[in-house]
């Protein structure tokens, strides 16, 4: 069973943080956006204990069989828009989709087909091939997944995608605090061979990962990362499914809370969908 919020050691609960200490670690200097007051939350507030292998990066080819890959590529081609999804599971059950955003013009059937294809990838990784990465799988119940099919619009600081952490964005944007996902993963759904560059880059590791169709890169989410510049004909696709694996349901929008200096106050657990 999951630990209930009130069973957690109080000092490790985010809603019990009353003060940001300047001695807490600064984010990586390559990060595109952060203020001088931004800090990385100390280890006791992080998900480190849930990683069976810390500070790791995995590159694996051939995640999907040919027919599975073709099905997912077609499901995405039918929509051709970025779709974000949330997946959830109960202990020992597969991950199933519980929410979708970003595809208002898509039909229910189209969305369902894409969700099933995404669920296949997620479960292939986290319930099957790389399940060994999760030290306490019963406590890792939420996955946010989204598909990007091109560079983000503006402000990428000369990159295809600016340097960032995969973190709780509510805490980042509202409080300048970084709490990382357990793991992050990028599955390259379709990378045209004409795409030149676009490597996933980890400045702390001095390490790049080349994009390739049907490849997945899995990494400790505390690593800052970016996507290096890419050039390609306009018809060449570079479609990637990105996922963050979580021990709780994060907020996906900025919300100002009326009490508590950090927002994660005990009387707002339900509103915050807090499910440690």
């Amino acid at each position: 069973m999951n630990a209930r919020p009130d069973q957690l050691p109080p000092k490790n609960a985010l809603w019990d943080i009353q003060q940001v200490h300047r001695s807490w670690a600064l984010p990586h200097e390559d990060l595109a956006f952060f203020s001088p007051d931004s800090r990385i939350l100390p280890d006791i507030y992080q998900a480190n204990a849930l990683r069976a292998v810390e500070r790791c990066l995995i590159v694996h080819d051939g995640l999907l069989a040919a027919d599975e890959l073709a099905d997912l590529q077609q499901a995405y081609a039918d929509l051709h828009v970025g779709v974000s999804s949330r997946f959830q599971r109960s202990p020992r059950d597969p991950f199933t989709a519980v929410g979708t955003g970003g595809a208002p013009q898509a039909s229910t059937e189209q969305i369902k087909r894409l969700q099933m294809a995404k669920a296949l990838i997620i479960n292939r990784i986290w319930n099957d091939r790389f399940a060994f990465l999760l030290k306490k799988p019963e406590q890792v119940n939420h996955i946010d997944a989204w598909i990007n099919d091109g560079p983000l619009s503006d402000g990428q600081k000369g990159r295809y995608h600016f340097t960032h952490y995969d973190c709780d964005e509510y805490l980042e944007f509202s409080k300048g605090l970084f709490r990382f996902a357990v793991y992050a993963a990028v599955f390259y759904l379709n990378v045209d061979p004409r795409v030149d560059g676009g490597c996933l880059w980890f400045p702390e590791l001095g390490q790049a990962v080349r994009p390739a169709t049907n490849r997945v890169a899995i990494f400790d989410a505390r690593y800052a990362h970016s996507v290096l510049p890419a050039s390609a004909p306009s018809s060449a696709k570079r479609v990637a499914l990105t996922m963050n694996v979580w021990d709780y349901a994060t907020r996906n929008e900025r919300i100002e809370l009326e009490s508590g200096i950090l927002g994660y106050v005990q009387n707002r657990r339900d509103e915050l969908e807090w499910h440690p």
């Binding site: 069976a52 292998v53 790791c56 990066l57 995995i58 694996h60 051939g62 790389f130 060994f132 990962v209």
Partner: protein
Amino acid sequence: MAIANAPSTNISQAVRKARALLAEHATPLQRQLYATPIDPDWIPISPEAKFRSLTGHAQARIMPEPFQAGHHRCFNRGVMVIDDVIPTAEFDELGKLTQAMAYVTKGWSRPSTVCCENNKYFTKPFPDQFSPVDLGHQLTTQINTVLDRTITNLLNFLLPLTQPPEAIVHCNAWINTGPIGLSATSGQCNYHFWHYDSDEYLEFFHPEPMVRFPVWGAVLYIHQPTDLSHYTCFEADGLNQNIRAQPNRLVIFDPSLVHGVVGPPTLEEINLRSILVINAWDYPALDHGTLVNHDTI
């Protein structure tokens, strides 16, 4: 490590030694594999790979999937990079000993039997250890003690990736210091030529050279000159991915992927790049380093 063109007398000695060891230690799986006749339809090794039979027989061919250990890997066709794997004090001691080894020998081989008692894994030295240079009892013991501890530590990363973990019963480990001979003529990989990690008895000394891969290959980067960059390269037709050498970084990989090392040469006596290589096995595969005396090659 495999080095071609060894004198034939040395090879015949190595073959005799190998047969004696196998008669005593080979497992049923190993005997079955070694008795399998080569099939001309099997895929030949990559033309890039430097390895060749030392017995003068035909080009080695890769045993097909049913004969391989791929089913023991949680994932194939991949590489895993883990940083800061050895505790700092232990890593510093390993580094000092490795640099000491670099002054007197180019490497150090350490085959081990992997044991499990009460769900706790440990290693013990495989019989008939080979020391490339006599460093005296005290230093030899110190090196082997530190290597055993490091190997056991690294096995803790390999075993969870293995199905089932107890499938790994043996590992061959060796220290490499500096560039590998023959690499200069090996095209892109000028520091260590393209190669597979494989059963070196089967590939070099068996009457019909065949390639069977270990369950896992792994490299621990011990010392990396700070002003130089070296990369372990996985062939473009395979993973097409380079991994940067960084101290205390462990790279675990599917050993069927052809790989090599690219980077500038390092000085012979100071500031050598040094690594620990491990091949984890589902049977006691014999290491070339324990069979052939490097001094005579």
